[in-house]
Amino acid sequence: MRALALLLACLASIAAPATAQQAMPPAPYAYTQLEDPALEAEARELMLTLRCLKCQSQSIADSDAPMAGDMRHQVRTRLLAGQQPGEIRAWLVDRYGDYVSYSPEVSETTWPLFAVPVLLLLLVGVVLLRRLGRQASGGEVT
């Protein structure tokens, strides 16, 4: 029994720093949806494509980190103030770079991402045409 109490005390001391940053109530729009369903849908779509800076493989829609809550608050209040989702994404990209966005834009560093599939498709097209052409002209049949 005493051992259990000791264990609990140890666990509590470990847990304390983790909860301390949640001592403050979350930002008003961290966990509260916007009243307008259409606007909230826009907010949700945007939040799913923004990276949580604290837990970097989650989106801010998925993360429970206090910082993700503060970012959701920014997204919702900015939409409410009439900003477009693109503007809000650009505002974050200006501050944290492309990494904060899960939806890649064509830029100096990302253009191969968009160019490579197109080039591959072109290559496939050329190979296919040559093969079919060869068959049609009664050449070697494989």
Partner: protein, 175 residues
């Protein structure tokens, strides 16, 4: 010729496998750096983080003298570790303005009482708005702001003893 062509996929596979193996052994930089370095500090105005302190705003950074902007919180453990280094910087005449993230006034007061107060002002950022405005992604972080209010340098994580000269150098460069 035909035979050689068969080796292309294998060569490609080996190249990719080698590339992945190399990248996997490289240390990963887990910090998201601010892309605001070189840009002016965005406008903000924060209330004092505890009674008896001065709040912080953008105007406090446009006095012609370079300053440090320290993002911290009383609940942040590495902030305790960097407290002596902030004291040392203050002792060298550096003006440090704090921004306390998601913090309660009583917690801020207790922290300052226990670990000292190297700050000339501390603003309360209850919803991380200033933190997000300057591209900071954690606590603690320290920014060098020049006398015109332009962000010059970002230090991520707690300030260790050997980071102090670097910060002093960056402050020197900014003046």
């Amino acid at each position: 010729m035909k035979r050689l062509l068969f080796f292309i996929p294998l060569a490609l596979f080996l190249f990719l496998a080698g590339l992945f193996a190399f990248q996997l052994t490289q240390p990963k930089d887990e910090f998201v750096r601010s892309t605001m370095v070189g840009k002016p500090l965005p406008d903000f105005e924060l209330d004092p983080a505890a009674p008896g302190l001065a709040g912080a705003s953008r105007e406090d950074f446009t006095t012609g003298q370079p300053k440090l902007l320290n993002i911290w919180a009383s609940w942040c453990v590495p902030c305790v570790a960097e407290a002596p280094q902030l004291e040392a910087l203050e002792a060298q005449g550096v003006d440090i303005i704090g921004v306390a993230i998601r913090d309660r006034p009583e917690d801020v007061a207790r922290f300052l009482e226990r670990y000292g107060n190297p700050y000339s002002r501390i603003g309360a950022d209850e919803i991380s708005e200033v933190q997000l405005e300057i591209g900071s992604s954690g606590v603690p972080e320290t920014f060098v702001i020049d006398g015109e209010g332009v962000i010059r340098y970002q230090h991520i994580g707690d300030i260790r003893v050997d980071d102090v000269p670097r910060l002093l150098e960056e402050l020197e460069k900014a003046s």
